[in-house]
Symmetry: C2
Subunit: 321 residues, 2 copies
Amino acid sequence: MLYTPSRVISDTNKKIASILRGDLRILKKIFAYVVESGGKRIRPLFMYYLARACGVERPEVIDLGALLEIVHAASLLHDDVIDGAEERRARPTGAKLFGNKEVVLGGDHLLASGLRHLNGMQNFAYMTIFTDAIQALSEAELLQMQQHFNLKTSRRQHERVVDGKTAALFRAAGALVSAMQGERDFYRTETANLGLALGRFFQERDDHLDYFDAARLKKKGLQDFVNGIVTYPLQLLLAEASRAELAEIHAEWEFARLQGKIRKQERILQLMDKYDIERRSVAELKKLQEQILAGLARLPEQRPREILSTEFQKILAVRSP
Amino acid sequence: MLYTPSRVISDTNKKIASILRGDLRILKKIFAYVVESGGKRIRPLFMYYLARACGVERPEVIDLGALLEIVHAASLLHDDVIDGAEERRARPTGAKLFGNKEVVLGGDHLLASGLRHLNGMQNFAYMTIFTDAIQALSEAELLQMQQHFNLKTSRRQHERVVDGKTAALFRAAGALVSAMQGERDFYRTETANLGLALGRFFQERDDHLDYFDAARLKKKGLQDFVNGIVTYPLQLLLAEASRAELAEIHAEWEFARLQGKIRKQERILQLMDKYDIERRSVAELKKLQEQILAGLARLPEQRPREILSTEFQKILAVRSP
């Protein structure tokens, strides 16, 4: 039987709740926050339908999807830890709700509970994949901090952050499916590469929308710029801008660094427009998209492959300028 | 061949350095900090000589000791995360040196690297013991925060913090030795109980010295009191003090909570003296000490058992008032 997406999500939520146990008040609050703010459960959905599309039908696929989500949640809790100086620009995150130390220790508890459950599945390949992913997540976040407000961040450095930060858990899902199929070299497989491409796409699309989604721009403007994160659209602009325009961008960047906000959003967008950055960024996304669609098309099982395509359709869609 | 303590320490340090790898500047700094501020490597020493005293002679004992130390270091990094409000009372910790987020992510990287290495040892019992310990460490720290500045903290609650915070990794060492001997119920063994008792002793002795070590008192006074942590000596005092004295203690406690420092250290110590708290606290420590010595005496192998006793002699010594 092939589950519907809503069934996958509800089974995943039950599994997460059964893995996360603890009698302390603060832990219960953090667990509830993690389960309720669950979001789209995109990792467990990918995990489940990818496995099924490869002909793998095992109950533990739900466990693995739940664990990907738990690691994701722990990573979000830890990424949201704030320094005194940063507080003013912080979103209403776990760290704001519960306190810095609480989310750090809560995140540790989540990770330990998840890995303990995983260990019960008695599969060394799974454990390798999960510990690799946790390592990649922390490393990418540290690299991003190292490049904080560094306009000279290279394309390669940005890609390394993307691959570690967002793509790691999708690649892990693909590697897990390969491991289930008995593949020993589980990172060098079509499914691991498909996961990697999908994870990259999500992050690059997010980075794109930060500059070019009208609805988002009205609400909160250029968040990556404000937060000192150099993404692909900004890199494209920096490569094209004239000397005078570069000086403007630098001044605005310095303002964001010192004030934690943006002053001349319109001007930055005007420059993006002048150099046709949106179209070029879309072209890049389309390339990744084609790679993903080709990968999906090669999966053997039709029905789950179709659901996978449908579920990710909305997300894969990129509005052309 | 039985290694000397200094050989155990240098092999442990090499092992730690080989497990912790990463090319980011900040990671290298954090790794160096962890290796160099190594302290007494008391967990690896206990791990090694306990195993040998039980007749277990395997190279992986050094790996396991190094991993206990890595988990300990990660836990210290995470415990030292500070909230804006707490900064004024913070010690010069990792968080101060590197920043909050840096130590959180650095700690995650340490944990992931350690668990990845452990997974390579292909032993599910080891992994269970380590994930249990990580869970216990985070839970105990959260419980301690929940009881922050709560003078009504019960003996039971304090013991739960001690067992999770300090005793967890010593108990883990004992359980690992049992697991190596093929014991399936590895927590219900003499070695696990010996580890637990030793871990409790270390913490209770620390708590004791916070009130009764003259040298320490001169340098930094009643740190647990200032930090709103109720330990055994204070519990003894609260049970004996008169109504008027309780009012004084409460007022000083409130001052510490609001100001982050102590005003009437002498008066608190005077009250401790009046009710003979030092002697009663020592009596409690002696009980644990006897339990540990009896446990050590039952270990089969003489030579490593003797080194274990010698190494822990200084630490086990408690000055009577």
